[in-house]
């Protein structure tokens, strides 16, 4: 499998790996995928009082493209409002990382992870 | 050491040293399995892709039209049995002078309900027109006619035959093993005329034994004959023989690139040989103007071919009395009998098949030796007859 330079770069130096403390204020978690499918992504966002995503963390069980996709979205969601974050499309992720067709599902999963994290935040804190 | 002169290039050719050099790393550090996903495997995969491109380019085909197999016999088997398996049994027409790897699968198909018709040759070795037209009228489903005959070197006008066969609704295959590198060969042109598939092989063109290809129009449905890991697009399973395929690819490239200059040399040698043969009263079989430039198939009246071949071997000339594969069978060549050659004369058949590494000097030496033997054997024969 030939990976793009950008995938390799994220894979070698993943950004924002880890988890936030459970008790931390404004933290929400999106967990998508299933081990049997070969991918599980956990994306956490930390939302400030102003509604802006201050920080993000991820952990991913999956191939290099899945790891790179989730690493990339932790960078992209930072500084965005929840609605702006929801505008991130898998096609943008796939394009940025030059994912081959067989790896498009990784970018879809990353988009789903954002949606799941935002939903978790809104569920915990109905506006 | 005394090195015999090799005049049996239609059986197999010496390996081109440049080809050998290209192969050796694949018997050494480049040993990966092309299916493996690590660096060793990827290196092999790249070499395999290159070999496929070289073969395709050399014969005017697309890389995805090339199916690598272990030899010409396998390619012929794959086409005939694989294509027949996907068709309702019908008429299969093959020329009577085909290689056993076409004739025997045809016989096998006959047992499975196919009608098999052997196309008769005319006296010059080309297909007899009447028989060909009569066969077309029977609407064959499959036709296989070799481009150049291994024994006689006679060339068939395969493009014209294929066009007619195609109009009659047949799928047309040609065994081009002996033609590659010796006459111009372009699959795209042949395909446009109606040729659906063709067989080529490495060890007849300075490549190694163990590598060959079926070049085929992808629209033809072929059932794999060897199943397993799904290599060659599922058409031929088994770990790729990378060293041989690397050699095959390069040999195709070189044989085709150097064909024209080689042909002139072969033609000059063959003319020299055949004019001497005429002086000896030999009959040279097959159309004089429609043969491979390297093949002379002849008989000296009253002299047994097997005996002559054995004497020539002792004198240091490696020639054949028939095709290598059928050297086991005794009795006169079926190909010659089909051409209407008298059985006694056919028993005298000897095949000289030249390579570009041969020299005019070797031809002269051969003619000299042959003359002496002919004289001697005829005298013995005369003694035997009078005794």
């Amino acid at each position: 499998m030939a990976y793009s330079v950008k995938v390799l770069e994220h894979y070698e130096n993943p950004r924002n790996v880890g988890s936030f403390g459970k008790e931390e204020e404004g933290v929400a978690t999106g967990m998508v995928g299933a081990p049997a499918c070969g991918d599980v992504m956990k994306l956490q966002i930390k939302v400030g009082k102003d509604g802006i995503i201050e920080d993000a963390r991820f952990k991913t069980y999956g191939c290099g493209s899945a790891i790179a996709s989730s690493s990339l979205v932790t960078e992209w969601v930072k500084g965005k409002t929840l609605d702006q974050a929801l505008e991130i499309r898998n096609t943008q992720i796939a394009e940025e990382l030059a994912l081959p067709p067989v790896k498009i599902h990784c970018s879809i999963l990353a988009e789903d992870a954002i949606k799941a994290a935002v939903a978790d935040f809104r569920k915990k804190k109905p506006e | 050491m005394f090195a015999p002169v090799y005049f049996d290039h239609n059986a197999t050719t010496p390996l081109d040293p440049v080809v050998r050099e290209a192969m050796l790393p694949y018997l050494g550090e480049r040993f990966g399995n092309a299916s493996a996903r690590h660096e060793y495997g990827r290196n092999t995969r790249r070499a395999l892709d290159l070999a496929r491109e070289q073969v395709a380019t050399a014969v005017g085909a697309e890389p995805d039209e090339v199916v690598f197999v272990s030899g010409g016999s396998e390619a012929n088997n794959l086409f005939l049995k694989g294509t027949a398996a996907r068709l309702p049994p019908g008429l299969l027409a093959v020329s009577a002078a085909e290689h056993p790897s076409v004739l025997r699968p045809a016989a096998q198909l006959a047992r499975q309900g196919w009608d098999v018709r052997h196309l008769a040759p005319a006296a010059d070795g080309r297909l007899a027109r009447d028989d060909w037209q009569a066969t077309l009228a029977l609407r064959p489903a499959l036709v296989s006619v070799m481009l150049a005959n291994n024994e006689t070197g006679v060339l068939q006008d395969v493009a014209a035959l294929a066009a007619q066969a195609c109009s009659a609704g047949a799928i047309f295959h040609t065994d081009a093993v002996q033609a590659l590198g010796r006459v111009p060969l372009n699959f795209r042109e042949l395909n446009a005329a109606g040729v659906g598939a063709m067989t080529i092989s490495g060890h007849k063109i300075g490549g190694p034994q163990g590598a060959a290809a079926l070049i085929r129009d992808r629209r033809i449905d072929i059932e794999p004959q060897i199943g397993g890991g799904g290599q060659e697009g599922g058409l031929r399973s088994g770990t790729e023989n990378i060293a041989a395929l690397v050699g095959f690819g390069l040999a195709c490239e070189r044989a085709v690139a150097r064909r024209a200059e080689g042909a002139a040399h072969l033609d000059a040698m063959r003319r020299r040989l055949e004019s001497a043969l005429a002086d000896l009263g030999a009959t040279v079989f097959g159309a004089p103007d429609g043969r491979l430039p390297n093949t002379s198939y002849f008989a000296l009246p009253g002299i047994d071919g097997e005996t002559l071949v054995a004497r020539l071997d002792r004198a240091g000339f490696a020639v054949a009395s028939g095709s290598a594969c059928s050297s086991n069978d005794h009795g006169p060549s079926a190909t010659l009998l089909a051409m209407g050659v008298d059985a006694d004369l056919a028993r005298g058949a000897v095949r000289v098949s030249l390579g570009t590494g041969n020299t005019e000097r070797q031809i002269d030496d051969f003619v000299f030796a042959l003359k002496a033997m002919a004289l001697n054997l005829r005298r013995l024969g005369a003694v035997a007859l009078s005794g």
């Binding site: 081990p35 049997a36 952990k59 | 015999p4 010496p14 016999s73 399973s237």
Partner: protein, 403 residues
């Protein structure tokens, strides 16, 4: 200094032993004759080399040289044995027994025979990868004509109880084929005593060249086959077509070396394999696939739980290993062999097959151990599954939002 990547994929293919290459080269230079050419010295020389090689192959497995025929490889041998026997003996019955963990060359061929009207039973294996002889015996029917079981599995390296299974076949008048492509030079094979009728061999898994293999066809009692490749009548009509003399010579030499050196070599390689296993056994949540005792000394197949297979291969690209068999790893399907052993998909996905060989060194093994510790650690740090397990979550109770 170890040379990277380290080759630990000897079951996919082996390098040609330099001694083998040396023996082959004259046949790529001056000894280029076609062994079927009966009219001159070039042909005779090739023919005599071919016969010497045949005797060498026969000697490794204690067979008569007349029982060995050349093929283009074990895949062709398997195809010829199964199709050839099934077609020849189809008058006797139509049932074939094989095992779910066989090589694709056997499974694909049996499927093809099913399409031709034969019936097949694909036996399960036990959790250790071995066929239970009682299950095997129970699967035989009055119309069973043929059974095929591999001697050594290519993925997990387990050694099947061929002698026992063969005896069962004899008792039921069933022809027994054994794919021994992975076995030569690794386990002793004595066909004078083994109740086996047909056996497939490959050169390139035993330090010989690619493109050449052999099929053993028993003479007493005589086994008949319908030829699958027709032509000039080479190989006593069983297999037509010019096969490469240099490759045949290479296979002979490779099998000669195997016979002479396997006893010593297997001890050395077994020690290296054990060193690898010991080095990895302090990593948490690793599982060895397949029986460790009834196994060739070259193979270690391990699942590293909670890391995904493809990213693991990426992380350990300095090790040339395989996940699943080489022939199927182009697809992302988890290994069907590991599935047959009862491994779930995640563990199958995260399995690595290490196969060691003649040129593997202690340094290489130590390097691999160190690298795996480091990379598995890194990937688990990235793994949400590992985190959950550390927190005491039972993953089997989690409701996954599968997409």
């Amino acid at each position: 200094m170890v040379k990277l990547p380290i080759y630990l994929d000897y079951s996919a293919t082996t390098p040609v032993d330099p001694r083998v290459a040396e023996k082959m080269i004259p046949f790529l230079v001056e000894k280029f004759g076609n062994p079927a050419s009966r009219s001159h010295a070039f042909g005779w020389e090739a023919e005599s080399a071919v016969e010497e090689a045949r005797a060498q192959v026969a000697a490794l497995v204690n067979a008569d040289p007349r029982e060995i025929i050349w093929t283009s490889g074990a895949t062709e041998s398997n195809n010829l044995a199964l199709k050839g026997a099934a077609n020849f003996y189809s008058g006797r019955g139509k049932h074939i027994v094989t095992v779910k963990t066989e090589h694709k060359a056997v499974l694909d061929t049996v499927r093809e025979l099913e399409r031709q009207g034969f019936e097949a039973t694909y036996l399960d294996v036990q959790e250790n990868g071995l066929v239970d002889p009682a299950v095997f015996a129970a699967a035989l029917r009055p119309d069973t004509i043929l059974a095929s079981v591999m001697l050594v599995n290519n993925e997990v390296g387990v050694i099947q109880p061929i002698a026992e299974l063969g005896a069962i076949c004899r008792a039921h008048n069933v022809i027994f084929h054994v794919d021994a492509a992975q076995a030569t030079g690794k386990v002793g094979i004595d066909l004078a005593t083994l109740p086996v009728d047909l056996m497939s061999f490959s050169a390139h898994k035993t330090y010989g060249p690619k493109g050449i293999g052999a099929l053993y066809i028993r003479r007493k009692p005589r086994i008949r086959l319908e030829a699958q490749m027709h032509g000039g009548g080479h190989e006593r009509g069983f297999r037509s077509g010019t096969l490469a003399t240099h490759q045949i010579v290479g296979m002979g030499e490779a099998f000669r070396i195997a016979r002479e050196e396997m006893a010593v070599e297997n001890v050395r390689i077994g020690a290296l394999r054990d060193r690898l296993l010991k080095g990895l056994s302090d990593i948490e949540a690793v599982y060895v696939n397949g029986d460790l005792e009834k196994r060739v000394p070259h193979n270690l197949n391990i699942s590293f739980a909670y890391v995904e297979g493809e990213s693991m291969l990426m992380a350990i690209k300095d090790l040339a290993v395989s996940s699943g068999s080489a022939c199927t790893s182009a697809s992302l399907e988890p290994s069907y062999v590991l599935r047959a052993l009862g491994r779930d998909d995640e563990l199958a996905h995260s399995s690595i097959r290490f196969t060691l060989g003649r040129f593997t060194t202690e340094e290489e093994v130590d390097y691999a151990v160190k690298l795996l510790h480091q990379k598995i650690g890194k990937l688990r740090e990235l793994s949400p599954l590992w985190e959950m397990v550390q927190e005491g979550v039972d993953l089997s109770t989690v409701q996954w939002a599968a997409h």
